[in-house]
Assembly symmetry: C2
Homo-oligomer: 422 residues x 2
């Protein structure tokens, strides 16, 4: 049943600054696609079954543009190091364990279960460099009903023995085999090319990935300008390039089907390139705080017309909650305004809500709103754990929910492209 | 039954940097006081009843040095303004409603219930300027079993009509009557003098409060150096004082029974005064972020030997969770290090745990540890909502719990001075 009507107090973004609010509205879904939200059910839809959620808040599903599946096992720990040391001490040793498919199956079972319970309806996910484990991750995510992209990671240098791939050829070959296995295998989970980041990939590997991408026409995700030491290393590897982003660009990896996580320290040249190419920026405020990277100037990116969404970046970020990412984005933007640049106005709630829905959703097409023609991803919120006393309008209730609901609970229902998965 | 033994995986602070960890330890409580933690039950305590919590984490109760009871009603909303405007638009109008005792009873019932469910065992609480409502707040908190200080707020200037007290005399008189009603009425809830902050109190009122404090020998709480505009206003009111803190000091309000919330912008003179007088700093990282005040340099205060604890500062902070305050404190200290002063090393987990337990606990006496002689405040943590896969040591489990457990649930048991309240 992918055609139906939901009644509730419906909120969704029209643009970065505009929230539409329909108390007692009717959101109409036909074959998994939104027909819009109405004050009364239009005649042509009167025959559809209606789900009455009373005054409960109904919003579009949330989109996570950047999360590491294998790092879910150690989320909330190991918060005492910066990026490069953090990778060596925590992330790489844990990722090494995913060579064992049994380990992968058990860890990814927990990850997938938690993602299903979360407010996330669509996610773009890093696996490890292991093709078998990554295919297991895809199987598990497919079962959740979420729509996802998942990447087998490429890394043929600067990684610990065991985790590092044997050669550029071996990495490329494993990637092609993985694409052959998975490109058409799942309905909702698709592969995405995933060179870990410039320091992890030889030029030869990057050239091969460029060829693979042309041949397979798949999107791509990576990391960009997250930490000062990382940027320094990249600068030493490619002294002739005007920015870190240009290193990806020389291999044809910067375009409108690319997500670059972080962009904390993007130079004006890099920002210009991101904009020209239509690259998506995955803003990961919790991770950038936890591993002390800094604060990305999202106000400047939004006002400059860049495409921006949110990422939980587990396990740099401690939680998969995109509600938490939403409020973290507001909070760090205030500290950026106060401590770094008082011409960068803090993000308002409507803007962070936009980032979590339409902003990131655009990577998946028409996703992240109830405007007509958008995929019908929806959450019905359960506020019962938040007793309130002051009278609140729907936007205040939504704001409060985002600030207080940071765990994986609190949903009465969750729909992805018109299919109810909770 | 206030004499018993708890078996569990017991963690507590010995000092700001040292965490004691006893897997399968026995914490002994006699008449509500800790006798210490042992690997085996000492002979003299063999007769005591034992509660076996297996491998569950057992830690001291958490201490909230700064929370506004009446603002609980609008927590998680109204995050778009700085302090002075935020008070006028959100806090003062809501506090005005507490003139009505029925309103107060209903709102404080919710507040008290949530505090009881929380990980907080001791709290220092602002009421409103209304004596009746504040006494109701004290009744409700007494029933929870928490140990608390609660203040009737004094404010005779710069507040909206209705909320502002009629005169210094009226404010002082109401305060004395309230003290007469409440000083001896409750076992666990005691009054604390609460001049809101310098801009809200005339000199005449401050002089009267100084007299009242001498006569009644009660502790005192207020706000200090939170926001640049606030500090500017205070500077204009007292141009001859070397710091905001010295304005309180001239009325005898800076001593070892004083809590000053925030101290984001304390000058070297003010820090020196705080240290000399033994004043407690209530660090409120969420509030300082949400109303864009800035980041308090807690590393400097800790290393300088100041007495520091944590405050949730609801509703500048969105949640009463001191676990959240703990991780917020770490997170903002990283941003301070990165963006403001890289000689201020980020707080580590052991330090923030200390702030939340022993640091703030010291305001209540020997509170916040299981060292012998400390009040037996204890939490038994429920990690069942956090499935984990990687093997973790007790401190990693505790760190993860603090990062992920941000709501009011997740406790198997809660003891205050040896009395089980959950």
């Amino acid at each position: 049943m992918r055609s139906f009507i939901i009644k509730g107090t419906i909120c969704y973004s029209l643009s970065p600054k505009e929230l539409a609010v329909h108390p007692n509205g009717y959101a109409v879904c036909v074959d998994g696609v939104s027909m819009g939200v109405f004050a009364h059910i239009p005649g042509e839809y009167q025959h559809l079954p209606a789900l009455d959620y009373g005054d409960h808040l109904v919003i579009p599903g949330l989109v996570d543009l950047h999360i590491h599946g294998p790092q879910y096992t150690f989320r909330g720990t190991g918060m005492d190091l910066e990026l490069m040391d953090w990778l060596q001490k925590y992330a790489f040793p844990e990722e090494s364990r995913f060579e064992n498919p049994e380990y992968a199956a058990q860890a990814y079972e927990i990850f997938a279960r938690q993602m299903k319970k979360s407010a996330t309806t669509r996610a773009v996910v890093f696996g490890t460099r292991h093709a078998t484990a990554t295919e297991i991750l895809m199987e598990k995510l497919e079962e959740t009903g979420l729509v996802t992209y998942v990447g087998k990671v490429n890394m043929d240098q600067n990684a610990p023995e065991g985790l590092q791939e044997a050669s550029a050829e071996a990495s490329a070959e494993a990637t092609v085999q993985w694409l052959e296995q998975t490109a058409e295998r799942f309905e909702r989970c698709k592969p995405i090319l995933t060179p870990r980041f410039i320091p992890s990939c030889s030029r030869q590997l990057m050239e091969k990935l460029q060829e693979i991408r042309k041949a397979w026409n798949v999107p791509l995700q990576s990391h960009l300008s997250e930490n000062p030491l990382e940027i320094q290393i990249v600068g030493e590897m490619f002294p002739q390039e005007p920015s870190y982003g240009h290193c990806y660009d020389r291999f044809g990896m910067m375009d409108e089907k690319t997500i670059m996580a972080h962009c904390v320290y993007s130079s004006p040249e890099e920002v210009q390139l991101i904009k020209q190419r239509g690259v998506f920026v995955a803003h990961c405020p919790a991770s950038n705080t936890n591993i002390a990277s800094g604060i990305a100037p999202i106000r400047r990116y939004l006002d400059g017309g860049l495409r921006v969404g949110l990422g939980s970046d587990v396990a740099g970020g401690q939680t998969e909650s995109i509600f938490r990412a939403m409020t973290d984005a507001i909070q760090v933007s205030k500290l950026y305004w106060r401590l770094v640049d008082n011409s960068c106005k803090p993000l308002c709630f409507a803007e962070s809500f936009y980032l979590a829905t339409m902003g990131g959703g655009a990577f998946f097409g028409k996703v992240g709103s109830f405007l007509p023609g958008y995929a019908f991803d929806a959450l019905v919120l359960d506020e019962s754990a938040m007793p309130y006393w002051s009278p609140m309008d729907p936007v205040q209730r939504l704001e409060r929910y985002a600030y207080l609901q940071t765990g994986g609970e609190g949903l009465l229902a969750k729909f992805v492209a018109g299919t109810k998965i909770i």
